[in-house]
């Protein structure tokens, strides 16, 4: 069954690609085998993240970027992340509305993903979904993050290049952005550049970048002024993305980033495997109530209780 779906994915079969992503999202039993199988075929696609506050026009910008990348004959895939409701678990995934004119284009694949409780602006399955798309032969994969603000730094750990989109009229938000999220942008985009205050935003970004780069050997980050609605500045941006990626390739930065990404991924898998084993061994699910009972009656203390359990685990590991 895995061989069959892998073969279809490698052939670019849309339905197989879409099903595989659901497979990963739903954490089906054979997920790991599937990903391992696909992993061998990855590493070719360029992966770009688009992040920025809500209302900054990320989807519209993406729509324009697709227009131009398509003309170059590239195959493009988009993963657009929207939040799941913490109450119902449901979600409305509406980003693709602004890209819907590409829906019938065989060169373009668009998939909406709900965060399903994952924090950091992505869905838990995003990193693995990327592998499906990479293996399927998409030249360019673009991830659109939820866009809620400062906490969305995770995207930089799974892509080659991050576009940070800002717009005039955000008021205090730009102050907040300075506090951290500015760090993650490789390329800065001031969208809605037709608005008067756009130049002021640019000046502010330049100032913050100046502070950031003063004690860094990296060259200054490029800033682009665009208007997705008026379709201006997009060509320059797309060229800028390409040349930045090329520079990163030549300087070895791209390779470095990708290795770092793999390292993070290995650590993540390792932690989660260990965690699974430990829970399995301790039978946490069933014992939790018992432990809580002990704690509630003050018959045990939390650190003491867990230390004891961990010791048990280590003993077991040594035996094996």
């Amino acid at each position: 069954m895995i061989d069959e779906i892998v073969k279809k994915i490698l052939n670019g079969d849309i339905r197989a690609i879409a099903r595989a992503i659901s497979w990963i999202e739903n954490d089906l039993p054979d997920k790991e085998a599937l990903i391992d199988e696909l992993f061998k075929q990855t590493g070719r696609a360029k992966i770009i993240g688009i992040t920025g506050p809500p209302g900054s026009g990320k989807s519209s910008l993406l729509d324009r970027i697709i227009d131009l990348e398509k003309q170059k004959g590239k195959k493009i895939a988009v993963l657009a992340i929207d939040p799941s409701s913490p109450f119902s678990g449901g979600a409305i995934l509406g980003d693709r509305v602004r890209m819907q004119k590409h829906a019938t284009d065989p060169q373009v694949f668009i998939r909406s993903m709900a965060s399903r409780g994952h924090l950091g602006g992505l869905a838990g399955a995003t990193a693995d979904a990327l592998k499906v798309l990479d293996a399927a032969g998409y030249d360019l994969i673009i991830i659109e993050t939820i866009g809620v603000g400062q906490t969305e730094i995770e995207v930089m750990n799974i892509v080659d290049l991050v576009l940070l989109v800002l717009v005039p009229g955000l008021g205090d938000e730009i102050q907040a952005l300075k506090a951290g999220v500015m760090e993650i942008g490789d390329i800065f985009v001031i969208n809605k550049a037709d608005k008067d205050e756009a130049r002021r935003v640019k000046a502010e970004v330049e100032y913050v970048l100046h502070l950031k780069n003063e004690d860094s050997k990296e060259s200054s980050n490029p800033i682009f002024m665009t208007s997705a609605t008026q379709n201006t500045g997009i060509k320059e941006l797309v060229e800028g993305m390409e040349s930045t990626l090329q520079q990163m390739e030549e300087s070895g930065l791209l390779k470095e980033r990708r290795l770092k990404r793999l390292a993070l991924e290995l650590k993540r898998i390792l932690s989660s495997k260990i965690e699974d084993h430990v829970h399995h061994f301790l039978n946490t699910e069933n014992n939790l109530e018992l432990w809580l009972d002990q704690l509630a009656h003050r018959q045990a203390a939390p650190y003491q209780l867990i230390s004891k359990k961990v010791k048990q685990v280590l003993k077991e590991f040594k035996k094996q």
């Binding site: 209302g55 519209s60 509406g94 509305v97 602004r98 004119k101 009229g169 608005k195 609605t229 379709n231």
Partner: protein, 557 residues
């Protein structure tokens, strides 16, 4: 003020002696009462400290600033409103027959409904038109169809309203060309084109081009008509569809007037003088079931617009400050269940429009939640207006509900809330930005969602839907449009393309294209040339699509 001290004292006594006793034994049905759009409603309204100056400033006299009491000094004592039923379906010939029927029945103006391909600038044979040709209105592909549509109807005698927006310039050109063939000069033509693109982005969906070129087309029409077609209403700034999309009454007024501000500003930016065009602006509102809220809404809208035009835009001519409006009864209030009940709803809504001082009115047919209205239903709808006009007596005096403690208070409340919205939209940088951001759409959706939730929970009663329902509904008669219409229109188009002077078409379309690229050029004469040469609607719109691009929906859910 001391003036009402006695009333205040007596009110306290009344509450203690009379009211509280009753409340103990018979509690009210709900703890709080609101209007249909959630404005709070108190148990009792009393005379309030209202100075003479305040009356003169805010209420005043009919036909005078700020027009709260109406735009004409005598209102319906002089002449009833124009009874104008929106109609059109199928082919131009079928619609022509329906218009003649309506005129025979005593209707006083025409109102043309176009099908969706026409409204979005596609010819009937375009692949995008599949399934839609002739469905919600008449299919018009070229001047040829327009000639059939108005065959035997003298355009110097009737006024014609056309619900057309993105391609309004093209349909107006067709109309002018038909008139010319009838020997009626342009300056004799009376009527309205809707021509309101902003609400299409917000609520109705029949947009083609992005905001900037769309606003240019609109100002081109303002300018052209002020010189050539002076009796024509060049725009009907519409809250109707905003309300249908689920907005509150306040939002309906606020967003409509905000659209109006944007149009006036665009025309001023294009170098027009405010009094040159503002008198030809007209409005279009909805009438829902909450009778008093609706009446207050119309009065508040007039007052706010007058203030905007005078204070913000410095209009000098009182005509520029008058909010003249058409009303349509609320389509979304009609139910598919027990459709005859809709006749009663429409009657209430008719009263709201008339007591609110409307200039013209369309009454919906009882069966519109089921499909296209039958001839019987259309006649009952028209009769409803005639009964209100001739039998109800509400037309005998001007603005009869003025001075009602509740109504005046509600009028003020709505005005206040409208100003709040206008301020917020200004802060965002105007209506175009507020729309592109999805702010307006989100406000409307939230209200629509809240409303629907209340219906679902039974907190809001809709008779026949969530209360007083029937197991077995009586069978319903509906009107069907010939499903082969697209083929009929396609054949007609093929014939037209074969017989017309195609070299001339190319020449006029190329001229239009070049003009479209020049921002300063007025496109109306170029469109008129192409229309007269029998270029199709789709051909003309495609030229403009090439130059202007197309709008992308902005939704926030």
């Amino acid at each position: 003020m001391d003036k009402f001290k006695k009333i205040e004292e007596q009110k306290k006594q009344w509450e203690e002696k009379t009211l509280n006793k009753v409340l103990e034994r018979f509690p009210e049905q709900k703890e709080t009462f609101t209007t249909g759009s959630w404005l709070p409603v108190e148990r009792l309204y009393l005379p309030r400290p209202f100075s003479e100056e305040e009356y003169l400033e805010n209420v005043g006299f009919p036909g005078q600033y700020p027009f709260t009491r109406g735009v004409q000094p005598t209102m319906y004592r002089g002449r009833f409103w124009t009874m104008r039923q929106y109609a059109g379906f199928g082919t131009a010939e079928e619609s022509n027959r329906r218009y003649k029927y309506l005129l025979e029945q005593g209707q006083t103006g025409l109102s043309v409904a176009f099908d969706l391909p026409t409204q979005i600038g596609y010819d009937s044979d375009d692949p995008k038109s599949v399934g839609e040709v002739g469905k919600v209105g008449v299919a018009i592909d070229s001047l040829e169809d327009m000639e059939l549509l108005f065959d035997g109807i003298p355009l110097d005698k009737v006024s014609t309203s056309m619900t057309i927006n993105a391609p309004a310039a093209v349909l107006l050109a067709f109309y002018i060309a038909v008139a010319e063939k009838q020997g009626v000069p342009k300056d004799q033509l009376r009527g309205t084109i809707q021509n309101d693109i902003l609400k299409e982005y917000i609520a109705r969906g029949t947009y083609i081009f992005p905001p900037k070129p769309s606003l240019r087309l609109i100002t081109n029409i303002f300018e052209y008509c002020s010189k050539e077609v002076p009796k024509w209403n060049t725009i009907s700034i519409s809250g109707y569809h905003i309300r249908e999309a689920g907005s509150t009454a306040v939002q309906e007024v606020a967003f409509t007037l905000a659209d109006g501000i944007e149009y006036v500003q665009a025309a001023l930016n294009a170098g027009l003088n405010v009094d040159q065009f503002a008198g030809r602006l007209s409005f279009f509102f909805n009438a829902h079931n909450d009778l008093l809220e609706e009446i207050a809404k119309f009065r508040a809208a007039r007052r706010v617009w007058a203030k905007i035009m005078k204070e913000r835009f410095g209009a000098k001519n009182p005509k520029s400050m008058m909010l003249r409006f058409h009303t349509q009864t609320g389509g979304s209030t009609l139910t598919a269940q027990q459709p005859d009940n809709n006749i009663v709803r429409v009657t209430i809504q008719t009263l709201a429009a008339v007591l609110g001082g409307t200039q013209s009115l369309h009454t919906n047919s009882r069966d519109e939640a089921l499909g296209l209205p039958t001839e019987d239903s259309v006649r009952i709808a028209l009769r409803t207006q005639q009964i209100v006009a001739y039998e109800s007596g509400v037309t005998n005096t001007v603005d009869p509900l003025a001075g009602s403690y509740f109504l005046e208070s509600l009028t003020d409340k709505i005005e206040e809330k409208v100003w709040n919205y206008l301020k917020r939209i200004d802060e965002m940088g105007g209506m175009v930005y507020a729309i592109e951001k999805g702010y307006i759409q989100k406000e409307i959706q939230d209200a629509a969602y809240r409303y629907q939730k209340e219906v679902e929970k039974g907190d809001r009663v809709v008779v026949g839907v969530n209360k007083f329902t029937m197991e077995q509904e009586p069978p319903k008669e509906i009107l069907r449009v010939d499903p082969n219409l697209r083929k009929v229109q396609a054949e007609r188009l093929a014939n037209l393309r074969a017989k017309r002077d195609n070299a001339k078409i190319q020449k006029t379309l190329n001229a239009l294209k070049e003009a479209a690229k020049e921002e300063k050029e007025n496109l109306m004469p170029f469109i008129l040339d192409a229309a007269k040469a029998y270029a199709t609607l789709g051909e003309i719109c495609n030229v403009l699509r090439d130059v202007f691009g197309e709008y992308q929906e902005s939704i926030v859910l």
